[in-house]
């Protein structure tokens, strides 16, 4: 658009660039202006280009030659601009002019140049010019122009915009008229302008008074109403939602609310006392209290007053406390929520109503009686502006307003008439000034009142304090809002409300503005409170109940809720001296932790995927700890909790769907409760993460390789680099080393990568080469797994190549298996027969509570899915029933006490077989193949033979070679292809039956952890113990399993 119009003035740029930027050229352009004072169709382009060129010269002059400004000023060239503007010269010229003005003011860097431009008040004339704001482009350029000007505001320039004598501040008053413009970018610009103005007003008393006395009440009351209307719309959106269809709109409304809160906070932190008083008063009494807080108290009292639903109000209040930290505001708000009394509230409202309805101190949410524009007009030189009424996109709305409030309007009109009579600018009508004073007096009275009551309340004794803390019995304290808040935590069905309550409590306790004493009265300590001896028992109990719920298999607690509960509980009971939690509460918490262990065991499987999931979950949990502020920015939690991932809601903010997610959830619950429990007991975490950075070999480490097997190779990286290295395989890692020049037999690590994330494939036409890729697991949802090594390794001959391949593949399997064993240890899986007694003893306290559920679970599944079971068995016959038994052996063999990865002596044979078991277990565990048809096992006595360790290793090697370790989908597919769906949780049915029957058998616990085994198959196993001899410590556990299976067997028969 602009690009196309190349008039003759700018045309010669290339050649005559020297002349273009000169005083002479400016003189010439001035000449052009004087010749073309009237805008016509013909000279329009010429004029536009002239103005543009003048701008360019001015900017050049600003940087190079100030004489051009002298000339500009001397000739009053701005008048020409204004003159052109006033000729209704049309959109094109308007836009051009505004654009060049933008550029001009944006690029002027010298103060003096700026003064030149701003003198004579021409800029203010442009600001109040009646542009056609219905044109979005003019609107955008205009508001950008104002924004650019506002960025130039400072102590000196402000006098060009604010005229003390005439009480004129066009830049500000014209801008705020667009505070509710439908175009968001315009609203943002308005906010920017106001913030820039407020910042400057700090140093300018007269201006500050003007802003407060003439504009603050109208602006803030309208702003507050605007916010409130959005909130009601938001609430409506939540109420009318069906199947999350309103989410798009909802998230916009929530973001809008957040924008407003941040804006208000930005005003408040400018810390202009005058303004903050007015703003705080409006926010509290016109919005937060009447609309948000009173909606907490969900009775039908209050009749017609606007209300929002409980979750919305809790959610919004949390946002308020998370964002706004202005002490007077948050303290008053917290005071009402924590100690508010309903009777007081109604009394106050009535009292207020008796006053005139135009006072800001009224505690109710009502529409301002007049539009902002009108208030501003009233507050200033009336009449004059009335005549000058600008075409405004809001005109229609104004008329509606007039219809709605005819009485006020009449009054207002009368006042206006009076104002018109009053005539000139700056003369206040007496009524007006009285009104403002009254408002201020009213305010101070109120705040005194509030102060006195709070002083009174602060004189409570300790007894009263603790009574207050135990909210349920607080008969003498009628605190409906706090009661409501606690009550919302109790909901047994879901955590819809609970999450908001926790957020609110968190936000309040983390709010820097709130007086800690206020919180202490309900024994809600601020984080890092110096010393505390007690904590809020009812709250702690509710938190523990939530944790306990979360650890139930069908618990309806979302991960976000659980994490927040943990945070809050820690905040309550952890002191610098340690944990002050009562034993009974600690015991309950331990119970919850135990439950979570049981929960993971439900899903525990000896699969690759489980390990990857386990580590992924740990990583994402530690790398992205809960950020409550971000959580409360998400509109999706406003809708009732859902389980379907199709909504696009973050996993932690909804219930799990399907077995993968249930497994992930169980793992997370386990992590959270484990970490909480350790922290409360003051014990360090020693088991997690499974791979600790500090244990790993790092690049540039110097290793003693005297007793290591090294294979020399040439590494060719993807980008063509070629280096000679020695390949070494460690427990968890493979590394590429270079001999250390200073010490014989030592090597410097040039690269180290985790074996578990490695892929090895052969190279088709070169028997001496291997392709090796090691991925770094994705750290954020935005990034993909990133290959940290992608190279071809070339060995000296094919034998070494095969050895390397085997070593790597074996290493990979072994590394993974060791980690699986560590997980088993974490879950108190009985690894060594002798320690099983202990393991069971520990679990017994909770298992009694736990058993009925599992029994139920089994019964339900058993009855509902018999066909599935059958069909699965049919396909499962490839899996030796034996593999299951092997798995059991594997889990039971390594010592529990040694928790660390068992020594490599964990028998290579055993490792081979167990790894195979893992994949076997995959299939069997994924199906209720536990039933494994009693007939099957006896029929396949020869199966153990192919079970020879070496062969198994090879099987797995090929698998490992062809599989990217992180690709769950793929490996799952591989397994499903030959076997059965892999991620159905390991089920309990028959095992729990076992538990029921033989409640005290030690091995029961172990059985619950492994891929399900049917008593029949167990029994059948007992018949073939010799087959399992390859595994080192197998006979013993087998014997026990048999023992426990036997009592069941007859029952089933």
């Amino acid at each position: 658009m602009f690009g196309r119009s190349r008039s003759w003035v700018g045309g010669g740029h290339g050649k005559s660039s020297r002349n273009i930027h000169s005083l002479d050229h400016l003189k010439y352009l001035y000449h052009v202006l004087t010749k073309n004072t009237t805008v016509t169709e013909q000279n329009r382009n010429l004029l536009v280009e002239t103005i543009r060129s003048i701008t360019e010269i001015l900017i050049w002059g600003d940087q190079n030659d100030s004489s051009v400004f002298d000339f500009f000023l001397e000739k009053n060239m701005f008048v020409f601009f204004l003159n052109i503007l006033r000729q209704k010269s049309g959109r094109y010229v308007c836009v051009q002019l505004l654009q060049t003005l933008n550029i001009l003011f944006e690029n002027i860097s010298h103060e003096t140049s700026l003064y030149y431009l701003l003198s004579n008040n021409y800029v203010n004339s442009i600001i109040v010019h009646k542009f056609d704001f219905s044109d979005e482009e003019i609107m955008a350029y205009y508001i950008s122009f104002l924004k650019t000007l506002s960025l130039k505001l400072n102590n000196h320039t402000v006098h060009f915009f604010y005229n003390e004598h005439t009480n004129d501040f066009a830049l500000y008053t014209e801008a705020i008229k667009f505070f509710n413009h439908p175009e968001s970018m315009v609203r943002i610009a308005v906010r920017t302008i106001t913030l820039n103005v407020y910042k400057v007003s700090l140093d300018n008393q007269a201006m500050l008074h003007y802003i407060r006395d003439k504009t603050a009440v109208p602006y803030f009351s309208n702003l507050v109403w605007f916010i409130g209307s959005h909130v009601i719309e938001l609430d409506d959106c939540v109420q009318t939602d069906e199947e999350h269809r309103n989410r798009g709109k909802l998230s916009d409304l929530v973001a809008e609310h957040l924008d407003h809160l941040h804006y208000l906070n930005d005003i408040l932190i400018i810390n202009c006392e005058f303004l903050n008083d007015v703003l705080t008063d409006h926010l509290l009494n016109r919005l937060f209290l009447p609309l948000y807080v009173y909606s907490l108290e969900n009775q039908d009292k209050g009749g017609e007053r606007p209300k929002i639903s409980l979750p919305v109000s809790l959610y919004l209040l949390s946002q308020v406390f998370l964002i706004i930290h202005h002490a007077p505001l948050v303290n008053s708000l917290a005071e009402v929520i924590l100690n508010g009394d309903l009777s007081e509230m109604y009394a106050k409202t009535e009292q207020d109503v008796q006053r005139s309805s135009a006072k800001p101190s009224i505690r109710c949410f009502i529409k301002p009686t007049e539009t902002l524009e009108r208030s501003l007009e009233m507050n200033k030189h009336k009449g004059k502006r009335r005549v000058q009424k600008r075409p405004n996109y809001k005109n229609v709305g104004e008329e509606e307003d007039e219809e709605k409030v005819p009485t006020e309007d009449a009054q207002e009109d009368a006042e206006k008439a009076k104002g018109t009579e009053g005539g000139s600018k700056g003369i206040k009508t007496s009524g007006e000034s009285e009104e403002i004073e009254m408002v201020i007096m009213e305010r101070s009275k109120l705040s005194e009142l509030a102060a006195s009551t709070s002083v009174q309340e602060q004189n409570t004794t300790d007894e009263e304090k603790s009574a207050a803390a135990t909210c349920s019995e607080s008969a003498q304290w009628s605190r409906p809002f706090l009661d409501m808040v606690y009550h919302a935590l109790d909901s047994p069905d879901d955590d819809y409300h609970a999450l908001f309550v926790l957020c609110l409590l968190y936000a309040m306790s983390h709010n820097k503005g709130i007086d800690p004493e206020k919180l202490e009265r309900i024994q809600l300590p601020v984080p890092n409170a110096v010393e505390k001896t007690t904590y809020n028992h009812p709250l702690a109990e509710r938190l523990i109940r939530i944790m306990n719920n979360a650890a139930q298999p069908d618990g309806k607690i979302r991960l976000a809720t659980l994490e927040l509960s943990c945070l809050l509980l820690k905040q309550q009971v952890l002191t610098s001296a340690g944990c002050i939690m009562k034993d009974v509460h600690l015991a309950c918490l331990e119970g919850a932790r135990e439950e979570s262990v049981h929960l993971v065991r439900h899903f525990y499987k000896g699969e690759d995927i489980f390990l990857d999931m386990f580590e992924d979950e740990y990583r994402s949990m530690t790398m992205k700890p809960m950020n409550v502020e971000y959580l409360m920015m998400d509109a999706s939690i406003l809708l009732p909790p859902t389980g379907t991932p199709l909504t696009g809601i973050d996993f932690v903010k909804r219930l799990p769907c399907g077995d993968v997610e249930k497994t992930r959830r169980a793992i997370r619950v386990f992590f959270m409760l484990r970490s909480l429990s350790l922290q409360l007991r003051g014990e360090p975490e020693t088991q997690l993460p499974l791979t600790r950075e500090e244990d790993l070999i790092k690049t540039d480490d110097v290793l003693d390789l005297n007793n290591s097997d090294l294979i020399a190779c040439t590494v060719i990286t993807k980008d063509g680099g070629m280096v000679q290295r020695f390949l070494a395989v460690d427990i968890y890692q493979m590394s590429l080393v270079e001999p250390d020049v200073s010490r014989l037999g030592w090597g410097v690590v040039k690269f180290a990568g985790l074996l578990q994330d490695m892929q090895v494939t052969g190279v088709e036409d070169d028997s001496r080469a291997l392709n090796i890729t090691i991925h770094k697991p994705a750290s954020s949802p935005h990034s993909k797994p990133f290959p940290i090594l992608q190279a071809t390794f070339i060995f000296s001959d094919h034998i070494r190549c095969i050895i390397a391949k085997q070593r790597l593949a074996k290493g990979r399997i072994q590394a993974r298996r060791m980690k699986m064993q560590r997980i088993a240890a974490l879950l108190d899986l009985p690894i060594q027969p002798t320690t099983e007694v202990l393991g069971f003893g520990l679990g017994s306290s909770t298992s009694t509570q736990h058993l009925p559920f599992r029994f139920y679970d089994q019964g339900r599944r058993g009855s509902s899915d018999p066909t599935v079971q059958r069909s699965v068995f049919a396909s499962v016959d490839k899996v030796p029933g034996f593999a299951v038994a092997q798995c059991i052996n594997q889990h039971s063999s390594p010592s529990l006490s040694s928790q660390s990865p068992p020594s490599a002596s964990g028998s290579p044979s055993g490792s081979g077989s167990t790894s195979h078991c893992d994949s076997g277990g995959t299939s069997s565990s994924s199906t209720p193949s536990t039933a494994q048809s009693p007939a099957d096992a006896p029929m396949t006595p020869e199966l153990p033979k192919p079970h020879l360790p070496d062969q198994l290793v090879i099987v797995n090697e090929t698998e490992a070679d062809s599989k990217p370790s992180k690709n769950m989908a793929r490996s799952a597919a591989v397994e499903t292809a030959s076997l059965s769906p892999s991620l159905v949780p390991a089920q309990q049915p028959t095992i729990s039956l076992l538990c029921e029957d033989t409640a005290d058998t030690l091995s029961v616990e172990s059985l619950t952890l492994v891929p399900p085994v049917d008593p029949h198959s167990l029994r059948s196993l007992t018949g073939i113990p010799p087959l399992s001899t390859p595994a080192a410590a197998c006979t013993e556990p087998l014997g026990e399993e048999a023992a426990c299976a036997e009592p069941v067997g007859p029952a089933e028969d």
Binding site: M1, F2, G3, R4, S5, R6, G10, H13, G14, S17, I20, H21, E41, R44, N45, E49, R52, E56, I59, W60, Q63, G90, R91, Y92, V95, Q99, N102, I103, E106, N107, D135, E137, A140, Y141, S144, K147, T148, L151, S184, M185, R187, I188, R191, T192, L195, G248, K249, D252, A255, L258, D259, H262, Y263, N265, D266, Y630, H782, S783, F786
Partner: protein, 240 residues
């Protein structure tokens, strides 16, 4: 001014990387950068054509407002595209990209198209000429070589680094120079193309103006009002 769509852009990045110059360079070519003048602007609009459709780009520079949190977060949300700019001669501006990107991802709608731009800000003794410019136009004059040497000696961020950053974070990448206007056009237009494609794929909810996309009167209006609109526009700004 009839258009099919209006896309709102924002420009983000450290101060002094030449954001406003890029903006002006794109929206108004009459301000030619060849003179030793650095001119920028905070807002601009321009019409482009993609796939035969008139698309209006509205670009808002967020400069100078970083001190107000409310402002930056609102800007992000209202935009369909963002140009994330760093200065290839200032390593620190590149190092801050992660923070900018985090901010952008946090506050913007998830579909926002982000383009990473390694810009060469002006103000050198020799007006800089972009590498791309040199290679493509085969400028072999002595000054061009000087300029190139000059640039390469002051370059602190390699092009490959920019590319790698973009790849890792799923951004489009380009090196530009506001001074010579090289690649500026492409940067804005490619971003628009990406947004346009997303609209075609139905990823963007175009009925929700909060996304930074607006359907033009041409699309939204019925024929009758369409005619009326055109009439009005012709009266207003027919010549441009």
């Amino acid at each position: 001014m009839a258009y099919a769509y209006l896309f709102k852009y924002i420009i983000i990045g450290d101060t002094g990387v030449g954001k406003s110059c890029l903006l002006l360079q794109f929206t108004d070519k009459r301000f030619q950068p060849v003179h030793d003048l650095t001119i920028g602007v905070e807002f601009g609009a321009r019409m482009i054509t993609i796939d035969g459709k008139q698309i209006k780009l509205q670009i808002w520079d967020t400069a100078g407002q970083e001190s107000f949190r409310s402002i930056t977060r609102s800007y992000y949300r209202g935009a369909a595209g963002a140009l994330l700019v760093y200065d290839i001669t200032r390593r620190d501006t590149f190092n801050h990209l992660t923070t900018w990107l985090e901010d952008a991802r946090q506050h913007s709608n998830s579909n926002m198209v982000i383009m990473l731009i390694g810009n060469k800000r002006t103000q050198s003794a020799f007006p800089w000429t972009g590498i791309i410019c040199i290679y493509s136009h085969k400028l072999t004059s002595l000054s061009a070589i000087f300029e190139n040497v000059d640039l390469e000696s002051r370059r602190e961020v390699k092009k490959e680094e920019g590319e790698a950053f973009a790849r890792e974070h799923g951004l489009i990448f380009m090196e530009t120079s506001a001074k010579t206007a090289s690649n500026v056009e492409e940067a804005f237009i490619n971003t628009a193309k990406e947004i346009y494609e997303k609209i075609q794929e139905g990823v963007f909810d175009i009925n929700n103006e909060a996304n930074g996309i607006k359907i033009g009167p041409q699309h939204a209006a019925t024929n009758a009002t369409h005619a009326g609109n055109q009439g009005g526009q012709q009266a207003g700004g027919g010549c441009c």
